[in-house]
């Protein structure tokens, strides 16, 4: 018998004007792990929220039913749902930082679940919380339980939430992108814990994810959603290996994987010749000093003795976990930060020597593509103004014709140029940001995780765009990413950063297939694996 049966569920936002779910069916059996995959906007999160009775007030359920253990959850109302949530169905949310109360120790937050459902007395709950944290992978659970969320890492926080989700011994856990905010190695640990615990306790798991690799590795059943509908479902081996529906096929094709090869420009064929050295970084070191009154000065070494070179037309990928110093290197390369020690030679000239107007003119040659396309664009200006800004700043041709040309270069429809960033999608914003970066005609483009905040299919488009631009403009790229599967698609050479130091560097083929350093191996083994047939 099925545990959860969603039938013909229709939900819409804004008083019925924005449909979100158009008749969705979903069945979950006791103890089963079901992955719901799809792009953002496909309705996966709306589905999860409907099941939990956590829809925002602007949403309306227009039809269908959600049967859980024989009861229709839609008929329960808020009071009834409160007894269900945490007790019978619980949630592991996406962002562990936002989901924990910052002023309450984590042990108390786990104990709260037991207390509100009357499963334990105050003292009992505290003891049980420690046990639950122990099971969730904290060897020193007694100490951790008294700590506050800010004293734990992102992975630990997510494990706390998993402990809280399991506290009421629910029959079903809904995990909404539980690891998309985490590093790949941490992601693996957290998913291991989650799947192991649900399996051993016989809890069913609905795993919502945009990462097909995770779905393939962890689920017994995969449901693919697109535009508010289920377009395909079945066992992962069947759905992801031999997809029927065109949307599934596109998802699978766009998912980066370690098995893929470097993208080549669609315009010019295999990558153009790599020239002489453009960028030469020697002994680069950055030490941040916290300067607070009264407190002893704390020195944090973000980047230590980093050295690499980039040739004209070449792509060097800097990979590492968050906190490895990747973004600091990016900011040093474009002189948003000054190096503590070491030299950055660009085309033979030392960057540290540049001041004022000289520095400003240098910026024409080295441009940065930021991680988050929404925050790197001033929300008050239109796409047209944003693309024209660097042209005007460097005294270049900023005519509408030139701006339109740039928009076409990044495949941004000219009709969107009158819109502001808030009215554009993430992918469109990133195209505007890339157009800004290539506008002054740089030699080197530093890309700091340019696609990591985007959907898989949009990510694939942005990566292809970067590769095409590189070929047509003869750009050198420094490509920063934590995602080795993405790096596989764009990099000629790879440098692996760990705690501010480069631990391994070499040609992409070599580093990503036969790594020397244990850290590189750990990063590689953490990449979720998507079974894939050889491209026909």
């Amino acid at each position: 018998m099925s545990l959860l049966a969603v039938r013909g569920l229709r939900v819409s936002f804004a008083g019925g004007r924005v449909p979100a779910l158009l008749g969705v069916d979903l069945t979950v059996r006791h103890g089963q792990t079901v992955a719901v995959v799809g792009e953002s906007g496909s309705g996966k999160t709306t589905l999860a929220r409907t099941v939990l009775g956590l829809l925002p007030s602007s949403a309306r359920v227009l039809g269908g039913s959600v049967e859980f253990g024989g009861r229709n959850l839609l008929a329960l109302g808020e009071r009834g749902m409160r007894a269900v949530r945490g007790r019978s169905i619980s949630l592991v949310p996406q962002d562990p930082t936002a989901a924990l109360n910052p002023v309450v120790p984590v042990g108390a937050q786990v104990a709260e679940v037991l207390r509100v459902h009357g499963l334990a007395s105050r003292r009992d709950a505290r003891r049980r919380a420690v046990e639950l944290l122990e099971v969730a992978g904290f060897p020193d659970a007694g100490v951790r339980a008294r700590q506050y969320p800010h004293e734990l890492s992102g992975g630990m926080r997510q494990r706390v939430l998993i402990a809280a989700a399991l506290a009421g011994r629910p029959d079903l856990i809904v995990a909404d992108e539980p690891t998309s905010a985490l590093d790949p190695t941490v992601q693996r640990q957290v998913l291991d814990h989650l799947t192991e615990l649900t399996r051993s306790s016989g809890t069913a798991l609905v795993l919502i994810t945009h990462d097909l690799g995770i779905a393939a590795e962890r689920a017994e059943h995969v449901v693919v959603m697109a535009d508010g509908e289920v377009v395909e479902e079945g066992p992962p081996a069947r759905v992801l290996d031999a997809p029927d529906h065109p949307r599934t096929r596109r998802l699978v094709a766009d998912a980066p994987s370690l098995n893929s090869t470097r993208l080549n420009s669609t315009l010019l064929g295999p990558s153009s010749a790599i020239g002489e050295t453009l960028l030469d970084v020697q002994g680069l070191t950055k030490v941040f000093t916290s300067s607070r009154f009264g407190a002893a000065r704390k020195r944090i070494t973000a980047v230590a003795d980093v050295a690499f070179t980039v040739a004209r037309g070449e792509t060097l990928a800097l990979v590492g976990e968050s906190g490895a110093g990747k973004s600091t290197v990016a900011r040093l390369l474009v002189r948003l930060e000054d190096a503590t020690a070491g030299r950055i030679l660009f085309d033979g000239a030392d960057l540290a020597a540049l001041r004022g107007e000289e520095l400003r003119r240098f910026r024409r040659r080295v441009q940065l593509v930021f991680q988050d396309p929404f925050t790197c664009l001033d929300p008050r200006y239109t796409a047209f103004d944003l693309i024209a800004e660097p042209l005007r700043a460097f005294g270049l041709d900023a005519s509408p014709a030139r701006v339109h040309e740039l928009a076409e270069q990044v495949a941004l429809p000219v009709g969107l140029l009158s819109r502001r960033p808030g009215e554009l999608s993430g992918g469109q914003c990133q195209r505007v940001a890339i157009a800004r970066a290539v506008a002054p005609g740089p030699d080197l483009l530093v890309c700091d995780e340019p696609a990591s905040s985007l959907d898989i299919s949009v990510q694939a488009q942005v990566l292809r765009l970067l590769v095409d631009l590189q070929a047509s403009l003869g750009l050198s790229l420094v490509f920063i990413s934590h995602d080795l599967a993405v790096v596989r698609q764009v990099a000629d050479r790879v440098a692996v950063l760990q705690a501010g130091r480069i631990v391994e560097t070499g040609p992409a083929d070599q580093v990503l297939t036969a790594p020397d350093h244990p850290h590189t191996r750990a990063l590689l083994s953490a990449v979720p694996h998507l079974p894939r047939r050889e491209p026909a």
């Binding site: 474009v334 400003r360 910026r363 008050r380 700043a393």
Partner: protein, 261 residues
């Protein structure tokens, strides 16, 4: 009519603006015409707010007094805004010892109750309408310094500011094009609220006798001169006071509506 409070506030403010712009149209009786036949008359159809001890029409005096009250409050609030924004901008952009110095000075200003500070300024400068505006402006400058500085510090770290720098935009242009427009929102909201506060403060100073000299009168002096008759002619203090309260409330309600948006 989803928000009756906002509509009511706008109506009150429209009346006040009309008083400031065309007082003669609203109250055709000259405010200083003395009529011994109707001394200390209670509100009636001919004299909606009653008359004072010299038989002057109080409604006309209140309508004509609006200009002085509102202009002093506007001048004070604008001066606070300009000076406070400049100080906040300098502190936020330059940082370091200058920031520390300016912010400690602001702390000192905040340490005194606003009215006490205004009285001290008047004590130094002497009493006149202009000095009332200056005194109110000095007392109101500190919140602007704080808010503008906090906004600048916040906006400065937003990625689009770094992006503009990388795009070769000159530092002065980054300030004008990106930092100031994005920092302005909460500051303008604060300006609306401080307009109400300035009206209350300048009326208080006038009430204490530092405002315009007779026969000119703003709402504060009107309420003050009615004090001697408070037992027999309540309308002399009630109506000017009511105007101050209603205008301040209307501005504050509007501030809340804007701030919530």
């Amino acid at each position: 009519m989803k928000r009756p409070g906002v509509v009511l506030s706008l109506l009150v403010l429209a009346f006040v603006v009309a008083c400031v712009a065309v007082p003669g149209l609203l109250a055709p009786t000259p405010p200083d015409r003395i009529d011994p036949l109707v001394m200390l008359e209670p509100p009636s159809f001919a004299h909606p707010f009653g008359t004072d001890q010299l038989g002057r029409d109080l409604f006309s005096r209140v309508v004509h007094g609006a200009r002085m009250s509102v202009l002093v409050a506007l001048a004070a609030a604008s001066a606070s805004l300009v000076v406070g924004a400049l100080v906040g901008l300098v502190a936020g952009m330059l940082g370091g010892w200058l920031d520390a110095l300016l912010m400690r000075a602001v702390d000192v200003l905040l340490a005194f109750p606003a009215l006490l500070l205004s009285l001290a300024v008047i004590g130094i400068l002497g009493s006149s309408v202009v000095n009332v505006a200056v005194a109110v402006a000095v007392a109101g400058v500190a919140p602007y310094c704080r808010v503008v500085r906090a906004q600048v510090l916040h906006v400065r770290t937003r990625p689009f500011v770094a992006a503009a720098t990388v795009s070769g935009v000159r530092p002065s242009a980054v300030l004008v094009r990106h930092i100031i427009p994005n920092a302005a929102g909460p500051v303008l909201t604060l300006a609306l609220m401080s307009l109400g506060v300035a009206l209350l403060a300048s009326s208080s100073l006038s009430f204490l006798g530092f405002g315009p000299r007779p026969p000119d009168a703003d709402w504060g002096t009107l309420a003050s001169s009615g004090r001697d008759y408070v037992g027999t002619a309540w309308w002399l203090t009630a109506f000017p006071g009511l105007m101050v309260v209603c205008t301040t409330l209307a501005v504050t309600a509007l501030h809340r509506a804007v701030a919530r948006r």
